[in-house]
Symmetry: C2
Subunit: 219 residues, 2 copies
C-alpha cells in the first residue's frame, strides 16, 4: 500500500491533503489494496457495493454487455480516478455494469460509510475528503453528460467529430492520443467498428483529420 500513497496524494479525493495525513487516514477509511490481471473483472453486474474504489495503477472499463453480446463502454478509468461511488449509497441497489481491467491493475477500496461519517478526532481532514468526494462525483457527472452528447449525435461522423473535438480541447492541442483502440472507441461511441473505420478514413481523405494508430490530428 505504501507505494501508492504518492498516487493517492495526486487524486482528486485526497486533494489538499498531505502524504502524512493520508497515511494517517488510511486505517480510518479502512483502505484495502487488491490487484487484478488484465481481463479480470473488478466488479460485476448484480453485485452490491459499499466501497468507493480508486484505481492506483492500470486501466479499467466500466462496461455493459447486453443479451446479444453488444458491448457498451460506459466510461474509462485511468490511474488516480475514483469509481463505484454512485453505487455505494444506501438507496443505490445493485450494480448495473461490469468493471473490467483492460491492463494489469491495482485498486484501493475505501469504506464509504467511514468516509461519510465524520469521525471522532484523528481525521481533521475528513470534511475535506467529503468535499473532494463531491467535487469528484460532480466531475464524473460532467463526463457522463459529455458522453451523452457524443452518442446522441445521429451519425457516426458527427459522433467522431464531437468526440475528437472534445479530446483536442482537453489536450489543448490539435494532436493527441486517445486511450482506445478502434474496437473500444466504437464500443464507447456505440457504433459499428467497421463503419467507424470507414468513416475515419473518409474524414482523412477529405483532409479533416490525420491519424496513425491512436494518435490523431485535427486539421
Amino acid at each position: 500500500m505504501k507505494k501508492y500513497i504518492q498516487i493517492l496524494k495526486k487524486t482528486q479525493l485526497f486533494s489538499e491533503i498531505s502524504e502524512e495525513e493520508i497515511t494517517a487516514m488510511l486505517p480510518c477509511l479502512r483502505a484495502e489494496l487488491k490487484t487484478y490481471k488484465k481481463g479480470e473483472f473488478i466488479l460485476m453486474q448484480g453485485e452490491s457495493l459499499d466501497k468507493i474504489l480508486v484505481l492506483a495503477e492500470g486501466k479499467l472499463h466500466i462496461q455493459c454487455d447486453d443479451y446479444w453480446g453488444n458491448r457498451s463502454i460506459i466510461n474509462m478509468i485511468l490511474p488516480g480516478e475514483m469509481f463505484g461511488e454512485a453505487y455505494a449509497t444506501p438507496q443505490s441497489g445493485t450494480l448495473t455494469n461490469d468493471v473490467l481491467a483492460t491492463e494489469d491493475s491495482a485498486v484501493i477500496f475505501f469504506d464509504v460509510k467511514q468516509i461519510l461519517t465524520v469521525c471522532s478526532s484523528a481525521c481533521r481532514f475528513h470534511t475535506t475528503v467529503i468535499r473532494n468526494l463531491f467535487f469528484a462525483i460532480s466531475e464524473k457527472n460532467r463526463k457522463l453528460v459529455k458522453k451523452i452528447m457524443f452518442i446522441s449525435k445521429r451519425t457516426t461522423k458527427e459522433k467522431l467529430i464531437a468526440y475528437l473535438s472534445e479530446e483536442a480541447r482537453q489536450h489543448k492541442n490539435n494532436t493527441f492520443s486517445i486511450p482506445f483502440n478502434r474496437q473500444q472507441l466504437a464500443d464507447f461511441l456505440s457504433v459499428d467498428r467497421s463503419a467507424m473505420s470507414n468513416e475515419l478514413c473518409k474524414m482523412r481523405d477529405e483532409g479533416m483529420i490525420e491519424f496513425e494508430k491512436n494518435r490523431f490530428t485535427l486539421l
Copy 2:
C-alpha cells in the same frame, strides 16, 4: 418561499431534516426563489454557476441544441429534484447545456459554497445536507448511466424496449405513464420522431405493447 418548505422537506437534499430546521437553514444557505413561465430558460449554455437549484414546481428539461438544430434532451427534472450541482464546483467551467421550463415553474437557488462550508453553530444539520447532496448526485449519476444504456442500443426498437422496460420496473407495474410526448421521447432517446412513432406502432401491431397517448402497457 414559505409555501415551498413542505416541498423541500420531501426532497432528497433535505431528507431527515424537519420543517423547522429547514426554515432555520434557508438564510444560511442563501436560498432564493425564482419563477419561470413555460418556454423560458432557467440557465443557458456558456453561463457559469455557483448555485445548486431545486425545482419546487413545474417541469424542466436539461437539453442541448447543436449547430444544426438537433435537440438532445439530456435529462428531465421533476418537482423536488436537484440540478446544476455538477456545474457548481470551482473546477467545473461553464454550463454545456440549457435548462428549459417546459411548464410554468418555480426554482429555489442555494449557494453551493454555503452548503459545503460547515458553518459556525446554527446549522446542526449541515453535515446531513452535505451527505444528502452526495446521495442525490449519486442518484443523478445512476440516472445518466441508465440513459447511456438506452441510447447506446443500436436500433430505435431496442432503445424503446430498454426505456419502456426500465419505466415499467420503476413503476413496478406493466402499465404506466411516461413524462414525455412523442417528440420529447424521441429527443430523449436520440432518434427521429417519425421513425420512432412508426416503430411504436409496429410493436403495438406485433402485440408487444399497447399505448394511448403517454400511457403504455407492456404485454
